[in-house]
Symmetry: C2
Subunit: 319 residues, 2 copies
């Protein structure tokens, strides 16, 4: 039997930054717990302070090491840092957990860092639903910066980018030159490009390639921000300051251009739409359970009606 | 500009089996044309006669050759045969088209055969929507048997199986032994298993493996039908009679057990649900266009409401 959820107490504890309360709330998000409705209502008015930074890139570019480097330098600035490692592709989140274990060792005793991996277990709405809810929990818990790290590749990167205020795209020499990046669709989503492992051969060529591709790209969708390209050697901590400076510059631009609010409104609209669709889907599920849809389906099979007319009746019954 | 659709004339021509009318109607299905609503209403009462046979299997097992063999023997029995080659994975349907071209040569002058490849172009509802609509068109056009061939692998096979009265799963020696089949989830969906390329080494072992796996499987979901395993060499036309006999036996069982009606009702219920969800999604899209969702999203960002309460308002506005 699930434990009963004392929403006001949990939310109060999370607002004080209590790690166990934060963990419990994010578990409710993962499980799509019915109590979430009350949780989200209780968080209202306490959100919007955290800067959400997406960190994405193909496997092998050094995502965990780079996130770790960012945590370290943000902590040196006195900022509290939440990390959400999202693995949309796997219900087990193995890669994320491995990265976590390494980071846990370094930050285990630091109360200013909270690291959590989260699987989106393919539940209704997927990333567009779970991630913003988890972000809201970390925001309310007072983290100044929340890093969202994706383990997946492809479509999930684009989805996660839509959830972040600033999206950092990581590449490594030889793995992700400009053309590969263009093919993967990451030129459009990156606000800051980081060429990691910059001590390897080909790093400068990758930087040139990227800058060239960015100069050719259509940036109107992102409001004419020209994304900088920064070099790092995350394993040695080199370039961390440059990445932070680029992030800060982007943050300032987001505010002055009005894009911060615009992005957050678009994000909230996606989330509202996901929840509304899930509500409607659940109501149709109830109609199937009570055999209303099956009765209509039998009428379609018997040639007494057609699927569109039947669907109209289902929509009518929901409303 | 799209041509205007004369629905009554098109449907009348399709009911006479006119290939161009059939082709036009299936193009409307592919394009999710608004006229489909009238088309499906006009088809009402004229469907339910065609036996729908799904043909699926991994690339390389000889799907096109096997479908071709089935067309030939069904034609020898005087049956009119429609073929729908569905490629859920690709918008270009290249593999399907290649297979078609080969078959077209053999059946080009035969008025009793209609072959069509269809891409599901990732549009709303996907396979669960387009395929049953196209099947209904072929059914009304008087085809006694409709073969639905999937090019994709994995989830799409399972989806297509849900759309067929009888699902044939093809395997080849060495490629698809019992354990591989179990992993791919195809043991659950097959009504008839065909080991093609049975002149190759290992065919008997594959048959034994499959029979063993089937005997271990839980068949309650398919109403206790024990699927037969048949050997063919489709390229030489060997085993065609055995496949047809197995299909006929399954068809008789479907009728006597009541499963034919049950499967078709479940299929229609899925279709109705897909159309209803698409209708609701379109209405939410309209709400976004008219800025209602954006206004709610801004209220969420400003901390004046939460996403669940906002979603309730969206659901309320739809109804």
């Amino acid at each position: 039997m699930p434990r009963p959820v004392d929403v006001p107490a949990l939310v109060a504890a999370a607002r004080d930054g209590a790690p166990r309360a934060v963990a419990r709330l994010i578990s409710l998000v993962e499980d799509a717990d019915p109590a979430l409705r009350d949780v989200m209502a209780a968080l209202t008015g306490h959100t919007g302070r955290a800067h959400v930074i997406g960190v994405t890139g193909a496997p092998g570019v050094g995502k965990s090491t780079s996130t770790n480097m960012l945590i370290r330098v943000l902590r040196e600035q006195g900022k509290r840092v939440g990390v959400l490692a999202v693995d949309p592709s796997s219900p087990f989140s193995g890669g994320a957990l491995l990265g976590d274990r390494i980071r846990m060792q370094e930050h285990a005793l630091d109360q200013g860092v909270y690291i959590r991996s989260m699987a989106s277990r393919g539940h209704l709405g997927g990333l567009s639903w779970t991630t913003p809810q988890a972000l809201r929990v970390l925001d309310v818990a007072g983290f100044d910066v929340v890093l969202v790290e994706t383990v997946g590749v492809g479509q999930s990167e684009v989805e996660v980018a839509a959830l972040a205020d600033t999206t950092i795209v990581l590449l490594a020499p030889g793995m992700g030159d400009g053309i590969q990046a263009a093919k993967a669709g990451i030129l459009e989503i990156g606000d800051v490009f980081v060429v990691n492992k910059a001590d390897r051969d080909g790093a400068d060529a990758t930087v040139r390639d990227l800058r060239h591709m960015i100069s050719l790209g259509d940036r109107t969708a992102t409001g004419l921000w020209r994304p900088p390209v920064v070099k790092t050697v995350a394993s040695a901590g080199e370039g961390a300051g440059d990445v932070l400076a680029a992030i800060a510059e982007h943050e300032a631009w987001l505010v002055s251009s009005g894009q911060l609010r615009a992005r957050r409104i678009a994000r909230a609209a996606d989330e509202i739409e996901s929840i509304a669709m899930a509500t409607l889907r659940a109501r149709i599920g109830d109609l199937r359970h009570s055999h209303n849809v099956e009765t209509l389906a039998a009428a379609v099979v018997d040639g007494a009606t057609d699927p569109y007319a039947a669907a109209d009746k289902v929509v009518g019954a929901l409303t």
